[in-house]
Each structure stands twice: as C-alpha cells, then as structure tokens.
C-alpha cells in the first residue's frame, strides 16, 4: 500500500490568489526515497508542509483535494496525530532546537516527554537514535554550542526518536557547509537504507542523483516531471524551468554537442556514469 497518496491537491496560502500548489497527484511507496526539486518559489516547502499537515492546520489557507499519509487524511487529522506519522526537518538548524532543554540528550527527549512516553522507555530509544545519527559524543553539551551540521543531526535525531513512519526533509543542508552537509546526507541515507520512507526537498542535484529512488520536479506549484533520477535530471525541462542540472549532465551535454559523447548513450547524472561514458567514447 502507498504510504502517501495525494489526489488533486491544490493549496493557497491565506490572502493569495496564485496557488502555491496546483492539482498535484502522486503516490509514494513505503521505503521509497523521493527527492523534490524545483526553483525558488516552486512550492517545495509548501509540499513538505502539506505532507505533514502544517498546510492547512498551521498556515491556514485554502486546500482542496486529498492528502493521505499512512491512511490518515491530513485535513481531518489533528497535527499532533500527524506528527506521530510524519516527521518534519527543515532548513535552519538553530530554529529547530526547542530552546526548552539545556543538553542534547534532554533535547532529544523533549518530543517523547510531550508524547507521554514513560522515562524508562525513553533512554534506550534516545541512545539508539544518538548512535544512529552519530551524536552520542555531544549528549551532555548544550545544543546551542554545536556546529550547524551537528545541530541538524540533533534536529534529525529529535524527530526520528518519535519513530515516525515517514521523514519529510525541507532542504536540510541548505544552511550547512560542505562537511556539515555530507554528515547530514550520510545520516539520511543510513535511515533510508534501514527502510524509512524519505521525502526530501533539495536543490543540490548531485546529491539527489546519488540518493533518490525517484525525483519529482515542481515548477510554479505544478508537477512537471516525476520519475527515476536518470530520466528526470537529464530532462531539458529542468533548464527551461530554471532548476539547473548536475555538472555531469552539463559536461556530457557539451561533449555531445561537439561529438565527444557516445551517440545513443544516456546523459549521466552521477560521476561514475560520466566517467563510463567518456571511457566508452574513447574506445
């Protein structure tokens, strides 16, 4: 069964005439890793909010169509119930630290306390998640005394410990340096390998190409492409809608124009494919 089923979703923020999302329909299977790409203002964040119920519950606004997450209709399910099913991690790591706690360990416990989990049950859950996200060493530090990448992993851990069925990430590395980004991406990939369903809005296409099982491209609130990374990321529509392409695709396209790329060979989206293509041409 699909863990996410969206039917004709249209959403307007309050007091806006232009819809932020327009007639979206798609499904996501359990365990899938789906990347959402799009130019600035395309609706990536809004889609993340719609998947977690913040649109419309938090932002209000007008929504039509249906969003089913793990069988729950987001419009008729209170936010607190949805939080048990779909966890949201977003861009700014500092703003995701609750501010209610003084150590990383307590910070991760915060969600569990709010859910009323018995203390004896909390500790093993927290320990496991801290190991998984690689933050065990910071347990007794203040969450504010960490680097951006470390903070973002604390934010991830704080959501994961609540054991959602689905992880929604809105450009989780856009505020991080390359090292921090790598740490966070590796953590997300590890979660995905363990079977977690992941939906990630992301503009770093090289990472999308290596991670995603499927890519959905948005433009002006509409889905323009939905398919395997190799197909979506090499589509000419991406350039048309200012989404860009991976540097491997760019290089291969230039090579193709100068007859330096094997004819009939698909354009690459990751470095290995690019390398293989050029080697094949040489032969």
């Amino acid at each position: 069964m699909a863990i996410i089923a969206i039917q004709n979703l249209t959403y307007h923020y309050p007091q806006t005439t232009q819809p932020a999302l327009q007639d979206l329909s798609f499904q996501v299977e359990e365990g899938e890793f789906v990347a959402v790409i799009g130019a600035n203002g395309a609706g990536k964040s809004t889609l993340c909010y719609a998947l977690t119920g913040f649109a419309p519950h938090f932002f209000r606004g007008e929504m039509s169509g249906q969003v089913l997450v793990a069988g729950l209709d987001t419009r008729h399910t209170p936010l607190e119930e949805l939080m048990l099913v779909a966890g949201l991690v977003f861009q700014n790591p500092g703003n995701q630290i609750s501010g209610a706690k003084f150590t990383v360990y307590e910070e991760i416990a915060f969600g569990l306390e709010n859910l009323g989990v018995p203390p004896a049950e909390m500790r093993p859950r927290i320990d496991r998640i801290m190991a998984l996200t690689g933050i065990t060493d910071f347990a007794n530090r203040s969450p504010y005394a960490l680097s951006g990448g470390q903070q973002q992993r604390v934010a991830l851990a704080s959501i994961l410990v609540m054991e959602p069925k689905l992880l929604v990430l809105d450009e989780p590395t856009s505020q991080l340096d390359p090292i921090g980004s790598r740490e966070v991406f590796e953590t997300i990939r590890a979660m995905s390998k363990q079977g977690m369903t992941v939906i990630m809005a992301e503009h770093k296409l090289e990472w999308v190409a290596t991670f995603a099982d499927r890519v959905i491209a948005l433009a002006n609130g509409e889905i323009i492409l939905n398919g395997p990374p190799a197909e979506v990321l090499t589509s000419p529509l991406l350039i048309e809608h200012h989404i860009g392409q991976t540097r491997y695709t760019t290089v291969a396209k230039q090579a193709q124009a100068e007859q330096l790329w094997p004819p009939e060979r698909a354009l690459p989206v990751v470095i290995d494919e690019a390398e293989a293509g050029f080697r094949a041409y040489k032969k």
Binding site: F54, F58, M83, F102, N114, Y144, A145
Partner: protein
C-alpha cells in the same frame, strides 16, 4: 562564551539534591523576612548565619560569596554615597568637607538597604547556583505550572545569548563591509541602525519556524506529559516548606504588631 545564562554549578552536595521547590521556599522566605521582618540587623544576620552556611553546605561557598559581592558592591557604594550625603532629615553630622556633610541617619539607612539587597541577591544566587534550570522547570511543570510558561522562562535563558551571537555576527559582517562600529558614540549609534533590520526581521521569520519546530515535537499534544528527569522530593522537605511559610508569616507579624 557560556552556552546559556544558567548560573548552575555542578557539585555533589546535599543542597544541590534538595527539591527545587524547597530551595525556592528557602530563598523567598529569606527575602521576605529580610525586607519585612523585625530588627535592624536581621538582614545581616540572615546573610551571615543562614546564607553563607547554606552555600558552604552546598559546596559553592567561594563562588557564592564572590558573585554576591561582585553584584552588590557597586550598588552598595552608590547607596552609601547618595544616602549619607542626601538622606532627607538627617541631623547627626559625622563629618563634613566643603559643601557636603555625611549624616549618621543616612549611613544607617544605606546600611539597612544594602544588607537587605545583599540578602535578596544572595538568596537568589543560592537558588540559581545550586539548581539546574531543567530540574527547577521539570519540578514546577510536574506541580501543575503551565508548560508554556516554563518554556518561555527556559527559552529566554537560552535565546538571549543566541541573539547576542547573532548580533555579533551581523556586526562583524557590517564591519567587514567597512562600517564604523568603533570610535565615537555617534559613529557607534549610527552603526547599530543597520543591525536592527536583520535582527528584527530575522527574529520574525525565526518565530514562525520555531513554532513549527515545537509543533513537530508534539509540544501542543493534548496528552499527559512525562519527564526524563526524576526530581526527588520527601515528606520531610514538605514539612520544612510549610515550616518556612509559617516562619515567614510570624516574622512579618512580629514586625507589624510588635509585642
């Protein structure tokens, strides 16, 4: 730079292990008795005979004294200068120079006020130095104080240093663009203006994101919250707290209706 504004000093002592409410009761009864209780020397006695021994019991004696003095000294000096010179209705002149004269009543009044303030500052510091804010908040929440209220208290403690860092970052950025942030007062005030925009606008965006983050952690869930930290309490401590309330009332009573 400290992580937050918490003054807590981690020590293994019986004072630190007391239930936070008990320490809260001790602090507030000391402050109330110091201000409203009878006798000129009461605040002095409370400080020397109660607060100092308690701080030693809590293994935070030196830190306690140092911080109290550092906070109270400038204030006390100011009080002495102002009151000894300008206390209205002072008659007994101790000594005079030029157009000034120091009056006994003024000195006495300054001493009384200064010791009461020292007692108050000391009582607060004893509580803050020996109590981890999480423990205090956990205990208050467990006793029915609204989680939103305790959240506001704790997050303020944490957000102020964070804002300060952010302000410094913005100042650095402005400075690297050649903005004057040192030098004359005028230049510095001028330099502060471009800081206001990013700080305020940034904070508005932050507020929305923080609200989402809190929701995402089920902060608003209508469930009975649990707590990671167990804060111990005892019947004996409960009795002590009741005793302190009674004692405070009695002391204030003695002042109001002296025998």
């Amino acid at each position: 730079m400290p992580d937050n504004l918490s003054l807590y000093i981690e020590r293994d002592s019986p004072l630190q292990r007391l239930n936070p409410l008990t320490k809260l009761a001790i602090s507030f009864s000391l402050i109330l008795i110091g201000f409203l209780g009878p006798g000129y020397w009461l605040a002095t006695l409370l400080f020397i005979c109660v607060l100092v021994p308690l701080s030693i019991w809590g293994k935070i004696g030196p830190e306690f004294l140092q911080r109290t003095v550092r906070l109270i000294l400038p204030l006390a000096l100011f009080l002495f200068v102002m009151q000894s010179l300008f206390y209205p209705g002072g008659r007994t002149v101790l000594w005079r120079f030029w157009i000034f004269s120091v009056k006994l009543e003024g000195v006495q009044f300054a001493y009384l006020t200064a010791t009461r303030l020292m007692n108050m500052v000391g009582a607060f510091l004893l509580l803050l130095l020996s109590t981890h804010p999480s423990t205090l908040m956990t205990d208050l929440t467990r006793r029915g104080v609204s989680p939103s209220l305790t959240y506001i208290l704790v997050s303020t403690l944490q957000i102020i240093p964070q804002m300060r860092n952010k302000a410094n970052t913005i100042i650095d950025a402005q400075r690297s663009r050649g903005l004057e942030t040192q030098g004359s007062v005028r230049a510095r005030i001028g330099a502060l203006l471009p800081l206001v925009g990013p700080l305020v606008f940034g904070s508005l965006v932050d507020v929305e994101e923080r609200a989402i983050a809190l929701e995402a952690r089920a902060f608003k869930a209508k469930r009975v919250k649990t707590s990671l930290i167990h804060v111990p309490d005892s019947v004996r401590q409960r009795q002590v707290r009741i005793g302190l309330v009674v004692l405070t009332l009695v002391m204030i009573g003695i002042r109001l209706w002296p025998l």
